[in-house]
C-alpha cells in the first residue's frame, strides 16, 4: 500500500494530461492569432514606412529647390514599365559627383520608377543626385536671353545606375500632381491644355510660361503646391511577386483626372482585389496601399496689388 502511494495513478495522470493539453491548445491558439495579427500590423507599418522614406526625401529635396525662372525644372508623365525621370530639378542638397573642392552642395535631383537590377528587376522608386561643379553653378545652361536651356543640360544629369540610389523598394507607382496658383488668370499646361482661369485646380501636367515661344518651360511660380501620390506594398508581399506582376499591378492605377487627388482616384482600387489583375497572387493584391502628400511651392498670397 505504502509503495503505491508514492506514485501517480493512471487516472491522475490522464486527468493531468487532459488539463495540460487543454491549457496548451488555448495558449497556442492565442499565440498564433496574435502572431498573425501582429505580422499583419507590422506589414502595414512597413508599407507606411516605405511611403515615408519617399515623402521625407522628396520634402528635403523640394525644400532646397532652386526656384528660378532661369533654372530648369522638368517633370514628365512616365508610362508604367518604361523608364525616365518623373521629376527633375536643381536643389541645394549634398551629393557626390564633383571633386571635393568643387562640390558646393548644389545638385541635380531626379526621381523615377526603375526596374531594380539588384531585386530581380522589380520596379521601385529610385533617386538620382549629382553635384554640379562650382565652376558650372553660375551657368547651369542659361542662355543669353535669360532662359534656361531647352532641356536639362545632359552633362549635369545623374547617370543610371552610378548616380542613383534605391529610395524605397516598396514604392511601385508614383504620380506628380500640380495645384495651380489661384490667380484667376488663363493658364496653359505642358500637354497643351488651356484653362480659361486658374482656380487652384489640381492637374497632372505642369503649367508652362506663355512668353517663351516654341520651347515651353514649367512655370514654378504658378504651381501653388506639388502633390505626390504613391502606391506601395510591404516587403513581404514584394518577395511574393515578380517584376511582370508588379508592373501589371502598377498599371492598374491610372493617371488621376484633373481635380481628383491620387488617393481619391486610387483608394478603391487598392481596397478591392477584384479591380487588380488576377495573375498576381491574392496576398500581394491585398498588400497594396496608396498615399499622397502636398508640398507647398508658391502658396497663395498677395502676388500683385488687388488679386482677383
Amino acid at each position: 500500500m505504502k509503495y503505491r502511494l508514492s506514485a501517480f495513478t493512471l487516472v491522475e495522470l490522464m486527468v493531468a494530461m487532459m488539463i495540460i493539453s487543454i491549457l496548451g491548445v488555448l495558449t497556442m491558439s492565442i499565440i498564433s492569432a496574435t502572431d498573425r495579427s501582429s505580422s499583419l500590423s507590422n506589414r502595414s507599418v512597413e508599407a507606411s514606412a516605405q511611403a515615408r522614406l519617399a515623402f521625407d526625401r522628396i520634402g528635403i529635396d523640394l525644400r532646397g529647390l532652386l526656384k528660378r525662372q532661369d533654372v530648369n525644372f522638368e517633370t514628365a508623365v512616365v508610362p508604367v514599365a518604361s523608364t525616365g525621370d518623373a521629376l527633375r530639378f536643381v536643389s541645394m542638397v549634398t551629393s557626390a559627383g564633383a571633386a571635393a573642392a568643387d562640390n558646393r552642395d548644389t545638385s541635380v535631383v531626379t526621381y523615377r520608377i526603375q526596374p531594380n537590377v539588384d531585386n530581380a528587376s522589380r520596379p521601385c522608386l529610385v533617386r538620382g543626385a549629382k553635384a554640379i561643379r562650382w565652376a558650372d553653378i553660375g551657368y547651369l545652361g542659361v542662355q543669353a536671353n535669360g532662359l534656361p536651356s531647352a532641356t536639362f543640360p545632359t552633362a549635369y544629369l545623374p547617370v543610371y545606375p552610378a548616380d542613383f540610389d534605391v529610395l524605397a523598394d516598396g514604392v511601385i507607382r508614383m504620380v506628380i500632381g500640380f495645384q495651380l496658383y489661384p490667380d484667376n488668370l488663363p493658364v496653359t499646361l505642358a500637354d497643351g491644355t488651356s484653362l480659361p482661369v486658374s482656380y487652384g485646380d489640381v492637374v497632372y501636367s505642369p503649367p508652362v510660361r506663355s512668353d517663351t515661344g516654341a520651347v515651353t518651360y514649367v512655370d514654378t511660380s504658378r504651381i501653388s503646391s506639388i502633390i505626390v501620390g504613391l502606391v506601395t506594398i510591404d516587403l513581404t508581399a514584394l518577395r511574393q511577386a515578380d517584376a511582370t506582376q508588379l508592373q501589371a499591378l502598377a498599371a492598374t492605377f491610372p493617371m488621376p483626372d484633373m481635380n481628383r487627388l491620387p488617393v481619391q482616384s486610387w483608394a478603391n482600387i487598392a481596397n478591392n482585389v477584384n479591380l487588380t489583375p488576377s495573375s498576381v497572387p491574392l496576398s500581394v493584391r491585398q498588400a497594396l496601399r496608396v498615399f499622397e502628400r502636398a508640398y507647398p511651392m508658391t502658396p497663395f498670397g498677395k502676388k500683385t496689388s488687388g488679386s482677383r
Binding site: 493531468a16 507606411s48 482656380y199 501653388s224 483608394a267 502658396p299 498670397g301
Partner: protein, 182 residues
C-alpha cells in the same frame, strides 16, 4: 521500513496544475503586451495618414479660389479664408466665425478620403478634418487670419474644438497656419 520518514520525492497533482495555471496566466499577460504593440502600430499608421492629410488640407484651404466651389474648398468642402467681393477682388471672407465646429468648418472623410458629413452614421467616416479659425482681422485690416487645422480619428460629433480632441481620445494631429492678406 519507516515510510513516514521518507522525504516527498515529487510534486502533487494539485501543485503541478496550479503551476501550469500560473504559467498560462504569465503567458497571457505577455500576449496582452503584444496587443499593445499592435495598437501602437495602428496608431502610427493612422497618424502618418493624418499628417499627410493635413498637408493636403492646408493646400486645399490656401489655394482654392473662392469662385471654384461656391466659397468652399475644392476637396474638403470647408469654408475658405478668402471670398470674392462685389467688384471681383479676393478679400478676407467676411463670414468667418472663430472657434466654431460645424459642417462648414469640419467634415468627415471616408475610406477613399472623399468628404462624408461627420454626422453620417452608416457608414461612419474614417477620420475627420477641421479648420478652426482662431483669429479673424477686422474689416480692412491686413493682419493675417490664423487657424488650427485638425485631423482626428475616429470622427466625432463634437460641437467645440476642445471636444473634437477629447472625444477622439487624443488621436489627432494639428497644425497652426496663417493666411496672409489677399
Amino acid at each position: 521500513m519507516k515510510t513516514s520518514d521518507r522525504p516527498r520525492a515529487a510534486f502533487s497533482l494539485v501543485e503541478v496544475v496550479l503551476a501550469l495555471g500560473i504559467m498560462a496566466g504569465c503567458l497571457l499577460s505577455l500576449v496582452a503586451l503584444l496587443l499593445v504593440g499592435i495598437k501602437s502600430n495602428q496608431a502610427s499608421a493612422e497618424e502618418m495618414r493624418a499628417v499627410n492629410l493635413l498637408t493636403v488640407l492646408e493646400a486645399d484651404l490656401r489655394n482654392t479660389h473662392p469662385a471654384a466651389n461656391n466659397g468652399k474648398s475644392r476637396f474638403f468642402g470647408l469654408v475658405l479664408p478668402y471670398a470674392t467681393n462685389s467688384s471681383g477682388f479676393t478679400v478676407y471672407n467676411p463670414a468667418l466665425t472663430v472657434n466654431t465646429v460645424s459642417t462648414a468648418t469640419s467634415t468627415g472623410l471616408d475610406e477613399n478620403e472623399n468628404p462624408l458629413p461627420y454626422t453620417s452614421l452608416a457608414p461612419r467616416p474614417r477620420c475627420q478634418a477641421s479648420v478652426i479659425y482662431t483669429s479673424v482681422p477686422a474689416a480692412g485690416s491686413f493682419t493675417p487670419v490664423q487657424a488650427r487645422l485638425i485631423v482626428n480619428w475616429p470622427a466625432t460629433n463634437a460641437s467645440t474644438p476642445q471636444a473634437l480632441i477629447t472625444m477622439s481620445s487624443g488621436s489627432f494631429v494639428e497644425v497652426n497656419v496663417t493666411f496672409p492678406a489677399p
